[in-house]
Symmetry: C2
Subunit: 469 residues, 2 copies
Amino acid sequence: MEELYHALKKHLDNGRVSKEVADLSSYSFDASFGEYMPDIICQPMSTEEVVHIVKLSNQYDVPIYPRGSGTSLSGGPLAVHGGIVLDFSRWDNEITVYENDLMMEVSPGVITEKIHKVAESYGLMYPPDPSSSRVSTIGGNLAENAGGPRCLKYGVTKDYVVGLEVVTANGDIIHCGGRTVKNVTGYDMTKLIVGSEGTLGIITKATLQLIPKPIDTKTAMLQFDDFITSGEAVSKILRSGILPSKIEIMDKYCVDAVLSTHPIENVTADAESVLLVELDGHPLALEAEMKIIEETCAALPGCKVIIAEDEKQASELWEVRKLVSPAIVKFGPTKISEDTSVPVSQIPAFFEEIERIRQTYQLNLVVFGHAGDGNLHPNIITDKRKPEEMKRAEEAVAEIFKASLKLGGTLSGEHGIGLFKKPFMYNEFDEAGMKFMKDVKQALDPNNRLNPGKIFPDEHERFVLVHDE
Amino acid sequence: MEELYHALKKHLDNGRVSKEVADLSSYSFDASFGEYMPDIICQPMSTEEVVHIVKLSNQYDVPIYPRGSGTSLSGGPLAVHGGIVLDFSRWDNEITVYENDLMMEVSPGVITEKIHKVAESYGLMYPPDPSSSRVSTIGGNLAENAGGPRCLKYGVTKDYVVGLEVVTANGDIIHCGGRTVKNVTGYDMTKLIVGSEGTLGIITKATLQLIPKPIDTKTAMLQFDDFITSGEAVSKILRSGILPSKIEIMDKYCVDAVLSTHPIENVTADAESVLLVELDGHPLALEAEMKIIEETCAALPGCKVIIAEDEKQASELWEVRKLVSPAIVKFGPTKISEDTSVPVSQIPAFFEEIERIRQTYQLNLVVFGHAGDGNLHPNIITDKRKPEEMKRAEEAVAEIFKASLKLGGTLSGEHGIGLFKKPFMYNEFDEAGMKFMKDVKQALDPNNRLNPGKIFPDEHERFVLVHDE
């Protein structure tokens, strides 16, 4: 490792290589649970530097763990087998806008919010809006195929990537896609790499597609006496001929937690379930479309509709959703944020399952998420110093995934499998399905050096939150 | 082959296996140029039958060529190495609509238009609209990742596939994706298989995402004195905050050919370039948005705007675009339909290149296509009985791709590489890029039995339209 360290230092100047314990521990965690010390951290700022690092990692047979801002909730960037952490956060400054192509080329360390702002300065929009966008890098978003509320109408990160520069496991530079919207030349390596969690290649440049920024938005809050009706409302809205930009859902525990610390005018805590709906487009259409939604929902039993009269009221209503994550920590210091997707029609059934699991395991289990596309985030708020409660949480998480899969859902909608969900992979895939994916991994990274220990479970691996002493 | 034939007949009843010459010749061609006789044709109607066929093909070491309606313009389904053609056209009847999930599950032989109609009967829309949709099967659309005019706003086939059932090269059945909009569980095998032209697996079932059907549409025709301005208009429209559902372009040769046989009121043949713009959404918004487009374009020099007053006039204007393909055959009996994509800002430069190539090679070379996303279709109308002219056409095609790549474009936007474009693959990819794709093919189809002879060129292969006697 000493030799590798010195070899790396030859290629990366200005203190961009370190094996100081203090530095290494800063990279030993992410927004999930794990803690794993790497041996060396590197901060590349060019494709050539990444190539050098990959070639050295091959020479010294050491794994590589690419990393952005470490906001992963699935343990994606954790260096579970030690080795090199490739921190892209300093390569954050390359943004080229091709305004007449509605495209933008970026380096992997650019913060997502900066992409939003630059696009908007051209009257354009980069739709994917993960809630970590103020902190997360585009490289991390690409690795995990990040989502966000706006995905209902506009799709996920993958839908806005038209070209990539990638350094392969053996240190080659390849170009996938290009600067065109439509491209069916050869296999779609772009969409294979995006979402592959850094296990098939290292992204060093991305060309993103932008769209015209919608002229206006309009918001409504729908409060329901029971969550079954709120789930039905989602399908009803989508069947009314209108595609909202966002439909978010929160259960009563979330709303309650928010309002108890942050009261909002007109919003009461007595609803069982709350939907927030945002429309975007031309102001005249928004007016008329919101009327259709109001009529559709007012016809449902126990539904109260609040339509924001102006931007100020709209952002107040959205506060309820934005404050859920900070508010629910009042239930305890440890938050287990889960992520699953179910078919939209199964949202009510999934909510019933969550309520059952809450009762069975006696946990602070709340649920919110992107109801419009069925991507829900059950969160368990607990205390990792209480091993007995953590055991119950472990079992509850397993039950949540079982429930989701039973309803036709999937293990992850937008956070990725990473480290923490791989024990459940065989619940969703059979041997043949896993083999198909493993064959791709084996073909493109035969020595398993790119982010090893992720996605594919070890034999007999099971989900563990707390290790027995 | 005799033994294989009898083995296949044991699994497929009712005359769904044939080696009669008359049958085989019906499957020897598609909508492109080639003619290759298969040895056997099979018409499977279930996943199990496909598994049997694949296993027998392995046992007898014979290639398999999946095929829908044979509308491919790139030679995708041609049995270039003989073997088995897998005709899916009789497995055309399985359609399950999950209306509250906005999803539809279909068998591979379902005609694309039927999918459109069934979706519409639920107030929903399946956006991809390749121009062959009345004839093409969804299986073919999936294999080639088909596009169409509406892709500007809504994206391509791939963007609407959330789940697949696939029979792998060794006869396993795998399930990719599922019935959820968002899914980041493992590698995205769904989007890898879609567009892989039948070379990585055989699709036996697909789950498609539907969207709310827009309430209304509005059409405008923009006629320009020069094509540079028309190209600029595309970027200007997209920068005005409005995302039309379609922006189609035709050069004067196309418009002329249509109007000479089919005069349309108000439309004159004197424009150098014509755009057709369609907006969709709420009627109130359409009115206001069309005004913005009118103002944006009226400010451009030499632009004449016609806005359709009603649906009847709109469909008359669209006739101009729809009749291009049938109309241009008046220039000759042989049509070489090409397909390339360039960055939107490069459309004027590409049109200049096309004009130069037209002059240099003295050919009936016209161009039309989906200007909003830069996907253009240069067409050479010639006569395959004139070898000298065909030679010039060959050279012109090579020049067209050279021009497109020089402008940052790609070999294919929506027709696929198939047989006819593979000689150009090394013009777009270098060795490392090709190796990356070949490694995936090798991993998933190690014996090269699935649609062999496509996408990857042989050594020193060059583009040939006419073989020397």
